[in-house]
Chain length 280, copies 4
C-alpha cells in the first residue's frame, strides 16, 4: 500500500482535526497514522499534525485542500504516494557516517535516494563509486571559499530535497545556506549544547564527562545552534582517552544521523522556532 504523508503547522483552534479528517474521509482516504501536538498556552498555542493515509487512487488533491489550508493559516507539506526525497551528502575525510548512510540506502532503509556525494577531499570517492553514486570534489581554502561554494551550489542545482552534512568539516556561509534551497541536516559530535564548536572529544576528555554524545540538527546561520532533531549518548569512563572517546562517539554519530535522516525523509519532523516536533 502506497501512503501519502501530510504535515501541518498552524495556530491552534478548535476544529482543525475534524476539518482535515473530514476532507480525507469525503474522498475515501483511510488514515493509517495520525500524530498531533499542541503547545497550549494563553493565546491558543501552536498546532502540529502529521497524517499518513491511503488516498485511494489519484493521490492527495492539493488544489482542493488549498482553501482549508488558507482558512487555518496552515504551513503545510504533502508527500504524495511513492514520492522519494533526493539527497546529497557532503563529507570530508571521515567515512563512518557516509558508509552507514550508503549502506542503509542500499538495503532500503531510507525513503529517499542518495544522488550525490560532494566532498572537499578525494578520500571517500571509492565509497561513492562502490555505491554507484556520483562523486564530486570541490576543495575549499579560506581564499577560495566563495568560489567553492558557488561551484557546490551549481553541482547541487535544484536536484535535491535534502543536504546532509555527514562530518563535512567546513563551515557553510550564510550565503550558501540562503541559496541551497532545501533543508540541511548536520551531525555534531557532542551532546549539544555541551562542547559546541571545535574538538568536542578532546574537550569532553578534559572535562571528564561520564557520557559522550552526538546531535543531529538542522543547520542555521548560527553554528551548532539549529533546531535539534535527535541526540543520543554512550557511557564512557576514566579509562577512555580522546582516541577511545572518538571511536565510541563515531558509533553514536552514525546512529543519530541515520535516525534524523530517516525521520526527515519520512516527513516526521516539523520545525517549531528554535526547536523541532518529531513524530517518531
Amino acid at each position: 500500500m502506497e501512503t501519502a504523508r501530510l504535515l501541518i503547522s498552524c495556530p491552534d483552534r478548535p476544529g482543525i482535526v475534524a476539518t482535515v479528517a473530514g476532507f480525507l474521509a469525503e474522498r475515501g482516504a483511510n488514515i493509517v497514522a495520525l500524530d498531533q501536538h499542541s503547545t497550549g498556552g494563553a493565546d491558543g498555542g501552536e498546532f502540529f499534525m502529521r497524517l499518513e493515509f491511503d488516498p485511494q487512487g489519484g493521490g492527495f488533491d492539493e488544489a482542493a485542500f488549498g482553501p482549508i489550508a488558507e482558512r487555518f493559516a496552515m504551513d503545510w507539506h504533502v508527500a504524495q504516494p511513492g514520492h522519494r526525497k533526493r539527497v546529497a551528502v557532503l563529507v570530508s575525510r571521515y567515512d563512518h557516517c557516509l558508509v552507514d548512510l550508503l549502506w542503509r540506502w542500499r538495503r532500503g532503509e531510507l525513503l529517499g535516494d542518495i544522488g550525490l556525494v560532494l566532498s572537499n577531499h578525494p578520500a571517500l570517492r571509492d565509497e561513492a563509486d562502490r555505491a554507484g553514486v556520483e562523486f564530486a570534489c570541490v576543495p575549499v581554502s579560506p581564499e577560495t571559499k566563495p568560489d567553492a561554494e558557488r561551484q557546490m551550489l551549481e553541482l547541487l542545482g535544484d536536484r535535491f530535497d535534502l543536504v546532509v552534512l555527514a562530518r563535512y568539516m567546513q563551515i557553510l556561509s550564510a550565503t550558501f545556506l540562503a541559496q541551497v534551497g532545501c533543508p540541511v541536516i548536520n551531525i555534531h559530535h557532542s551532546f549539544l549544547p555541551s562542547f559546541a564548536g571545535a574538538e568536542p572529544y578532546r574537550r569532553a576528555a578534559d572535562r571528564g564527562v561520564k557520557l559522550i554524545g552526538a546531535t543531529a540538527h538542522y543547520v542555521t546561520a548560527d553554528l551548532d545552534d539549529g533546531p535539534i532533531i535527535e541526540q543520543d549518548v554512550q557511557r564512557v569512563h576514566h579509562g577512555h582517552d580522546v582516541e577511545a572517546l572518538t571511536r565510541i562517539g563515531e558509533d553514536v554519530e552514525r546512529t543519530v544521523l541515520a535516525r534524523a535522516v530517516q525521520w526527515h525523509l519520512d516527513d516526521r519532523v516539523l520545525v517549531h522556532g528554535p526547536r523541532t516536533v518529531v513524530f517518531s
Copy 2:
C-alpha cells in the same frame, strides 16, 4: 484547564477520526492531544485512539456519543474532566515499590488516589500510616487462601478502579481476578519472558546475563503472561552477585511500575489481545 480523555478501540475503517473529531468540534471542544494507531492488515485491522480535549463546559456528552460508538462497534472509555482513579495497592514485605508510589502520590505525580494498602504481612503498616492511607492485613496460607481472597474482595468492594500488585508475593486465583472488577497491574522482577516464575534474580545470576530488568503487566489468569505495559533494564556485570542484582533490580522495578501506573491512570494504555498499545 481540566481535560477529558477518550479511549477508543474498534475495527479500522475510513472516517473514524473525522466522525469523532467532528463530534467534538460541533460541541466546541478543543483537542489538546490525539494519538492514533492502526494495525493494518488484510481485513482492515484494528483502530486505537486516545483523545485528550477540553470539552468546554458540561463535560463529554456520553449519551450523545452512544450512537457513534455503536455505528463503529467501538470499545470505548471516557474520563471526564477532574476524574481521578481510585487505587488499591497490594504488598507483602518489600517496601521499595510501595514507598515510591506513595511518595509520587503525595507530590502530585499520580492522576489518581491511593485509598488502601492491603498486605498479607503487617510489615508495611507504618508506611501506609505515614501517608494517611488505610491499611489492612489479610494473612494468606495455602489452607486459608480461598477465605483470604474472599476477605480481600470484601475489603476492596467496588471502591477501586485499579489494583496494583507492588511486589505482592501471593498468586491470585482466577476466581479472585474474575471478581475483582477492575484492572490489576503487577510488577515482575525480570525482563519477561526471561525468568518468568520464581527467583528471577538468582536465575539471572546463574545464567550470567549482562542486563537485568523489570516488567509491569496487566494480570491475567496465566501467571506472568499478561499484556506488557512497560519494561526497562539496567546494565550489570560479573561482579554483581544475587544480592547486588536484587538491589539494582529494585530500582528498575519501582521505576517501571511507576510509569505503568501513571500511564494507566492517565488513560494512555489500551489492551490489544495479548499486547498493549501505549500512547506515552
Copy 3:
C-alpha cells in the same frame, strides 16, 4: 567478612602493584578486589589503585605501610574494616534527593550513616524526624550569609566525612568550602557542561534538547565546575514542557546522586585534577 579498602594515587612507575600486593600477602591479607588505572603518557603518567581486602585480624597496619607510601610518593587513604563514613545532607525545599538518600540509608544500601540534615528552610524537617536524624535550620539571606555559614560550620563541626548537597539552593562561599574539612558532593540538574548555572530545565526546554540529565560532582570554588563523579540522562520529546522535564529530571537526579554517594562511601572515587577515576 569485613573488608578494608585502600585507595592510592601516585606517579606511575614499575613495581607499585608488586610492592603493595606483597605487603598485604606478607600479612596474610587476601585481596578481594583490585582495580587499577594508569594514565600513561611521556612522563610515565599517574597511577591509581583501589584494593579491597580481608586484612585477617588487626586491620591494615598503617604505620608499617608508611615507608612504602613515602617511597612511591603516594597520596593514600585507607578505610579499616567496619568503618562507616558519617554524612551530613544539606537541603532546601525539594524533597526527592533527601527522601531517596534516607530511604537507601534505612534499608542498608549506604556504607555510611546520615547524622544531620541541614537546611535553609524548615520544609523538610518531617522527613528528617521520621528517619530519626537530627535536623537543623539555618536560614540564609544575602546579608546574613557569612553568619549563616559560620553557624553551619559550627553545626557540622568535625563530625562528618562527607557533605552532600541534595538540591541545596544556596551557593557555598569559597571560605565555607575551605573550612568544611571534608569532600562535598553536589547534584546539578543538568548534563554538565550543558546548562551550568540557574534554571537548567527551562533552558533545556528552550533549546529543545532530546535528552535531559543530571550530574553529581565534587564541589570546588568554581560553581558547577568540579570533578564529575556520575551523570545520566533520560529521553524526552517535544511534548514535555518545563514541568514535565522537571519531574522526569528529578528521577534522574536522585538516581545519579545516590550512585555518586554510594561510590564515594565505598571508596571507589579518586580525584585526578579536574576529573575523577571511578572504580564502579
Copy 4:
C-alpha cells in the same frame, strides 16, 4: 608502546597478585592495566585476573612463568606484544554483521585480522571481495551437513584463533564444535534467555515486549545456551511490526557482536562455567 596481555583463572588464595606482579616487576615490566575479580564463597572462590603490561624487551617469559602457574593451578593465556588473533567469519545471507565487522577491521578497530568469510550461500561474496578477504561457499542441506562440516573444518584448518557466527543460519553440530579448535562466538537476535530458538523477532512482536535485544555468546553444544559475553536492547513500541523490529534489532545485533569480538580479541573475556567475566 606494544603491550602484552595475561589472563589468569585459578582457585583464589592469598598471594596471587603479589606473586604475579612480583614476577613482572623483577623483569622490569610496567603494568598498564590490571583487572581482578574474585567470586568469594566458603571454599575461597575463584580468582580471575587480566594484566596488560609493557614487558620491556623480549616479551613475556612463558617458560619462567610456568612454575608459578603450576603452583597456583592456573588456567592462563598470554598474548605477546604485537600478536593479532586470526578470525574467520561465518555468514549466510544477512549482511549487517559482516559489513560492520569488515568495516571496523579496515579502520583498525579490531586487534586481529579477518582471514576468511565462509558462507552457505554465495550472497555475500562481493562484501568479502571488496575487503580483500578470502571467500568460500559451502552449501549445507540436511543430507549434506556432515560432509559440509568436514569441508568447512578443512577450510578453517588450524589457521584461526576465533570463529565468529555473524548470523550464520545453520546449527553447527557438536562434532564440528569439538573439532574446530578455537572459541566460537555467535550473535543471537534476542535478549537471551528470552526467545531462544527460531524467529525471535516474530515472537517478540507476538508477546508485545517493549524492548528488543541481542546477545553475543560463546557457542556450546547446547543451542543458545553458551556463556553470554554481551547484551544490549533498544526500546520499541506497539507501532513496530515484525519488519520494524527486525530493522531496529539488526542495529543492536551488529553493535553487540562488534563489542563481543573486540573484547575477545583484546583478551578481556574469561569463561567461568556457564558465565563470563568481562574486563571491559
